[in-house]
């Protein structure tokens, strides 16, 4: 049990010293969902075995951490040497390399891929060293053992809460967050301090602090990484918010599809209760606060805050009209602060280091950092945390290593099903909430999908509408029926049956839906259509006028034809799922266009480039 703030500081120091006296080299192994999926467990086992085989337990300690953000090179590990002060990052490690890594210790092991570290931590490091990434939200992810409270305490954990409770009044805590300029990272970008202020000003018996961990954007996994890699940080932030607004109950609403994050959160809550960071009389003071977990059940719209609240109350997760805003009347009609995971993850550092420190990061008008889940056709898929104002170029080329297979950049999609596309002209635009909105896209929660010349923008718009159709709750007509009609029109365009009139109707209906839908889901669902129509108008025109899909994606507009390079190896004919390829051995084959389902299997299998896609 931690009794007070002083006790916490002394305890953390002592833990730090104990760690310093322990094994000199720590091997951090990235064990997030992606790491585990990429078979990190055997590597972990091999490292442990190698250490015990050589009887080096006093020299090496293996730590299972959360995601390092290096999804492109999982299994990834980092070797941190306490004496030499070196940090070596290895990627694509296989169990057979364990011996070499242990052998090398603080030095770079030969024959193992060494990765460049592209980030720095503003909280511990003065110098950026030219790093493009600044890690505030992810500072502990991949560096501490998320299931070990001591590990968090050594990294300065719960000191923000201690400072708030002992040195600051609730108003001062709210004021500090307002002063920091922190804005919601869940998509809307609403100033967090202001939201807290609304809830704090209400007089009510009950108030609630809710953490939105529903992460619905299909292609985004920032929040999951934070919860898996640094769960205590979110708990600490929620308690700070509770203190600032006068709430004693917190709720984390998390999607059921995140079993590992749920497991780690549960464990963290238990540890926090046992050690006096949650529960009644936190750290020996008067403030009490506890946290419950509630589970989603696979509905995207439940990420919207009013729908989320209904879901916690056990109803269908349908949104309701705002105002009243949740901060005024939310869960069980009580004032409720709803914040995103990443928003919360900024809070402990802000209280620990102060608003002035936080404001130095990013731009004056848009402070702090943003985490993006960078994926798609980029070379280095992973998590990226950059200061606000970084450019797309920094992210895609600087951190992401450019487009895979040396292809040409075409577009970046941000904001998921509510967002839009940016193209090459926008690579140098500094990223903030406002600049993205001015380009008809949005920050969104942080999904960033890179596309190359193989992607058809009409089809991408259709993909997002597919998603919206599936996820629309059906309560309001514009969203339920309007999106269906939009989807039908896009299908027509993709099938080569669109006309100029279809385009005009698409645009018109999109605006109507935006203006009339009930909640944020419907109001933003036409964005992918409008944005692609604006940025890639020529592609829409080609589909309609020339009946062509330049990316070769829209099946009705392409055909596969065998050219004279065919040597008659029969590979395509043997693999064609509908047996539409005929021809004698060692003779040129032919595709029956009427039977062909355009699956592309032959095209991808042919070793002689003898199949053209037209």
């Amino acid at each position: 049990m931690i009794e007070n703030a002083k006790h916490l500081r002394e305890h953390a120091l002592e833990l730090g010293m104990r760690q310093a006296k322990g094994p000199r080299t720590r091997i951090l192994v990235s064990m997030g969902t992606c790491g585990i999926a990429a078979d990190t467990e055997p590597v972990l086992a091999a490292l442990r075995e190698e250490i015990s085989r050589r009887d080096l337990q006093d020299v090496f300690e293996v730590v299972e951490t959360g995601c390092m953000g290096l999804c492109h090179s999982e299994p990834s590990i980092e070797v941190v040497d306490g004496v030499e002060g070196t940090m070596t990052l290895y990627g694509n490690v296989v169990p057979g390399q364990a011996a070499a890594i242990i052998e090398a210790g603080p030095y770079e092991a030969a024959g193992v891929e060494v990765l460049e570290r592209t980030w720095y931590c503003p909280e511990n490091e003065e110098n950026t060293n030219g790093a493009l990434q600044a890690r505030v939200v992810l500072r502990n992810s991949g560096r501490i053992d998320p299931e070990n409270l001591d590990s968090y305490l050594i990294a300065g954990g719960y000191q923000g809460l201690a400072r708030a409770l002992t040195e600051m009044s609730p108003e001062e805590v709210g004021g500090e967050v307002r002063e920091s300029g922190l804005r919601g990272r869940g998509g809307g970008g609403f100033p967090t301090g202001m939201k807290w202020g609304f809830a704090a000003a209400r007089k009510a018996r009950d108030k609630f602090v809710v953490c939105n961990a529903d992460e619905g954007d299909p292609g985004a996994f920032m929040d999951r990484a934070v919860l898996e890699g640094d769960p205590h940080c979110v708990l600490e932030a929620m308690a700070i918010a509770g203190y600032a607004v006068g709430a004693s109950q917190g709720i984390i609403y998390i999607r059921a599809e995140y079993p590992l994050a749920i497991k780690r959160l549960r464990k963290a809550i238990e540890q926090a209760r046992e050690n006096g960071f949650l529960g009644s009389g936190i750290m020996g003071g008067k403030f009490s606060f506890d946290i419950d977990i509630k589970y989603g059940a696979g509905a995207f719209v439940c990420g919207e805050e009013t729908a989320l609240i209904h879901s916690i109350e056990g109803h269908r997760g349908e949104p309701t009209f705002k105002p009243p805003f949740p901060a005024v009347s939310g869960l069980w009609k009580a004032p409720t602060v709803v914040n995103n995971v990443e928003t919360f993850a900024n809070v402990p550092a802000i209280i620990r280091r102060g608003a002035d420190w936080f404001k130095q990061i990013g731009l004056p008008e848009c402070t702090g950092t943003k985490v993006f889940a960078l994926a798609g056709k980029v070379s280095k898929v992973g998590l990226v945390e950059v200061p606000m104002g970084a450019t797309l170029h920094d992210i895609v080329y600087g951190v992401g290593g450019g487009i895979r297979d040396g292809r040409e950049f075409k577009a970046v999609q941000t904001g998921g099903p509510s967002g839009g596309c940016l193209k090459a002209d926008h690579l140098q635009t500094p990223i903030t909430y406002e600049t993205l909105r001015a380009l008809d896209s949005m920050m969104g929660s942080g999904g960033m999908i890179v596309m190359d010349s193989d992607d058809c923008m009409v089809n991408v718009a259709k993909f997002f509408l597919d998603f919206t159709l599936d996820e629309s709750c059906g309560k309001c007509t514009p969203c339920r029926i309007g999106n269906k009609r939009l989807h039908e029109m896009l299908t027509e365009v993709c099938a080569g049956r669109g006309t100029q009139e279809t385009l005009a109707k698409l645009k018109n209906l999109s605006h109507t839906i935006k203006d009339t839908a009930l909640c944020g889901l419907g109001q933003t669902s036409p964005n992918p259509v409008l944005s692609t129509m604006l940025q890639f108008e020529d592609e829409y025109r080609e589909h309609i006028e020339d009946k062509k899909c330049r990316a070769g994606v829209c099946r009705h507009l392409i055909s596969y034809v065998i050219n004279d390079d065919c040597v008659g190896c029969t590979l395509c004919a043997r693999n064609c799922p509908v047996d539409c390829i005929s021809g004698q051995r060692r003779e040129k084959h032919e595709i029956d266009q009427d039977k062909c389902i355009k699956c592309g299997v032959c095209h991808s299998l042919c070793k002689f480039h003898a199949i053209d896609k037209r």
Binding site: C34, C71, P218, G219, A375, G382, G416, I449, M451, D470
Partner: protein, 178 residues
């Protein structure tokens, strides 16, 4: 995702699944009595979704008799419970296959051709998205980003993740399900 919403014939709850498995019934009952239930129906409703999660974890799906059991204990109407179940795609009222094949339909997987992979599964298994094969062996579905975007396109079979799945790898994955 689409799902089968056809009601079984017979009186409500006549599937009797809840009584065929007394052990699971008991576990569900124990779980629910461990909750902080009171007289306030509105507050009790706040526990509904977690009870349904527990019930589906135990029985594999949520037949009417199980829905009734949960409704009674929470003092809710069956219609309210059914309304919640039909809203959330995680809940299913029909049994699912022993091998749940889910193709990731997240954006990253989509741009790397997940739709073609799903088509191949449909063709090979002869079932549509959201359906279960007649012998109860396979269910096919899509899911949203599993967070392994670097391995896109991704397919999950029960808890196992397959990465970089090209359409021609589909038969191998089906053969793996033994």
């Amino acid at each position: 995702m689409t799902k089968n919403r056809v009601r079984p014939t017979g009186p409500i709850g006549s599937d009797g699944v809840i009584n065929q498995e007394p052990k699971k019934r008991q576990e569900l009952a124990d779980y629910m009595s461990g909750l902080n239930l009171g007289d306030d129906r509105d507050r009790n409703r706040g526990f509904l979704i977690q009870c349904l999660h527990k019930a589906q974890e135990l029985f594999g799906y949520l037949p009417e008799s199980v829905q009734l059991f949960v409704a009674d204990r929470l003092g809710l109407h069956l219609s309210e419970v059914y309304g919640v179940i039909s809203f959330y795609s995680y809940f299913t009222t029909v049994p699912v296959g022993r091998y749940r094949i889910n193709v990731c339909m997240g954006t990253a997987c989509f741009v790397r051709g997940a739709d073609r992979v799903l088509e191949e599964f449909k063709r090979h298994l002869g079932i549509d998205d959201g359906e279960t094969s007649e012998n109860g062996k396979f269910s096919l579905g899509g899911l949203r980003c599993v967070g392994a975007c670097s391995l896109a396109p991704v397919v999950m079979v029960n808890d196992k993740v397959y990465g970089n799945v090209a359409p021609d790898k589909v038969p191998d994955i089906i053969n793996d399900c033994q």
